[in-house]
């Protein structure tokens, strides 16, 4: 077989994969595939995109939405303003080290341990020093650090609590604060810059600095 003949067979793999190769060419290509590992690998590679491709609505491709032209500059201005004054809590949710607290009426909880969003959620063993506190936690290993989702009640209503993540090297890195909700269940998303692999545990401290809850992150 000449290189040109081989190239013609190889380029026919696309039509073959999408079911558009004329029947009179199909048997020759299949015979070639039987003896050519390179072309079999090529066919596997291009076929791998078809299941997802099949679901694309071609009409959507005719229109590519773009953000408004000034959005980039608005973001830079907002960042500049942030850099120039004390960090403010954003309108909605956790920043690098601010805990978000959701008070859930009726106690329904929207979380489950297990795989979520492609990122595994790992149940964390927690121990409360105060018998009033009922808590469960899961850890989510992000690329930027570990997130602890704390689902609890019994922290004194109105009191401020601080959370720190303990790193293997002994560092304690702040992961935000929350206000106790008494008997109302709450969910806090606590973000820390400590990577999951470097984290050994977390602690909830009361205003006096006493540990009221511990979480163990050593187990894998």
């Amino acid at each position: 077989m000449t290189p040109d003949e081989h190239r013609a067979l190889r380029e026919a793999l696309g039509d073959y994969a999408i079911g558009r190769l004329p029947r009179d060419e199909t048997s020759a290509l299949q015979a070639h595939l039987d003896g050519c590992a390179d072309c079999r690998a090529e066919l596997a590679e291009i076929s791998s995109v078809l299941p997802a491709l099949r679901r694309v609505d071609p009409a959507r491709l005719d229109h590519t939405p773009f953000p408004p032209p000034d959005l980039g500059e608005r973001i830079v201005s907002a960042a500049r303003a942030e850099g120039a004054r004390p960090r403010q809590r954003p309108r909605w949710l956790p920043v690098a080290s601010a805990a978000a607290v959701a008070i859930l009426i009726g106690g329904a909880v929207g979380y489950a341990a297990g795989d979520y969003d492609g990122i595994p959620r790992e149940p964390v063993a927690v121990q409360a020093m105060d018998p009033a506190v009922q808590a469960t936690a899961v850890a989510i290993p992000h690329t930027w650090g570990v997130e602890i989702v704390l689902d609890a009640d019994g922290f004194r209503a109105g009191s401020t609590y601080r959370v720190v993540v303990e790193a293997d090297d002994g560092r304690e890195v702040g992961a935000g604060e929350f206000i106790g909700t008494g008997e109302n269940p709450m969910i806090c998303n606590l973000n820390s810059s400590v990577l999951r692999s470097d984290a050994s545990g977390f602690k909830v401290l009361d205003a006096a600095g006493a540990t009221v809850l511990r979480g163990d992150l050593t187990a894998t």
């Binding site: 380029e11 793999l13 491709l53 939405p65 954003p90």
Partner: protein
């Protein structure tokens, strides 16, 4: 933001305005389309994009280029921001029964079903292809039109459509690999 030892010099850090602008130009529009697809709302999508880049700016020192590409890191943040936004709006368009607690009636609040995200990813990947490759795939595969018709419209020989289908599919696989989509 230092670069790891031995790594080539990196772009200006995300904690600089130049770095933030560069990151936005490279990834902002795609994050916007992702948020738009998830929320179905232009204002909400813009807010998500702003929040993603502000969080990235605040956490610039925790980004490690040796662990993840900037795109992957920004999308990890974007998924969280979208979850937060969905929760804030208390809109739950993606109700997914939790299999481990069948009678609780709870829903997890999260981005759309995987299938929807996959479809969005392929669309983004198609947008990265050369127009002639994208057209060949769309016309021959998605619209099922005969090669001869597509070739006549494009003013090229019929055999050219065949090779465009093949190289287009290869380019699409490569674009999806670059976007971190496993085969």
């Amino acid at each position: 933001m230092g670069s790891p030892p031995g790594a080539p010099p990196t772009d200006p850090g995300l904690d600089t305005e130049a770095g933030l602008r560069a990151a936005y130009s490279a990834h902002g529009p795609e994050i916007y389309r992702y948020a738009l697809r998830q929320l179905g709302d232009d204002g909400g999508a813009q807010e998500v994009v702003q929040e993603v880049f502000l969080r990235a700016w605040r956490r610039a020192d925790s980004y490690d280029a040796s662990l993840a590409s900037l795109r992957v890191w920004l999308f990890a943040i974007a998924r969280n921001v979208v979850v937060d936004e969905i929760r804030r709006l208390n809109v739950r368009p993606w109700r997914r029964q939790l299999t481990d607690e069948p009678e609780s009636g709870r829903d997890s609040i999260g981005p759309a079903e995987d299938a929807l995200v996959d479809t969005w990813l392929v669309e983004e990947a198609l947008r990265r292809l050369r127009p002639e490759h994208r057209q060949a795939i769309v016309q021959a595969y998605l619209r099922g039109r005969p090669h001869a018709e597509i070739a006549a419209e494009a003013g090229v020989p019929v055999g050219t459509i065949r090779s465009r289908v093949f190289y287009g599919l290869k380019a699409l696989r490569l674009a999806m690999d670059e976007m971190g989509v496993e085969p």
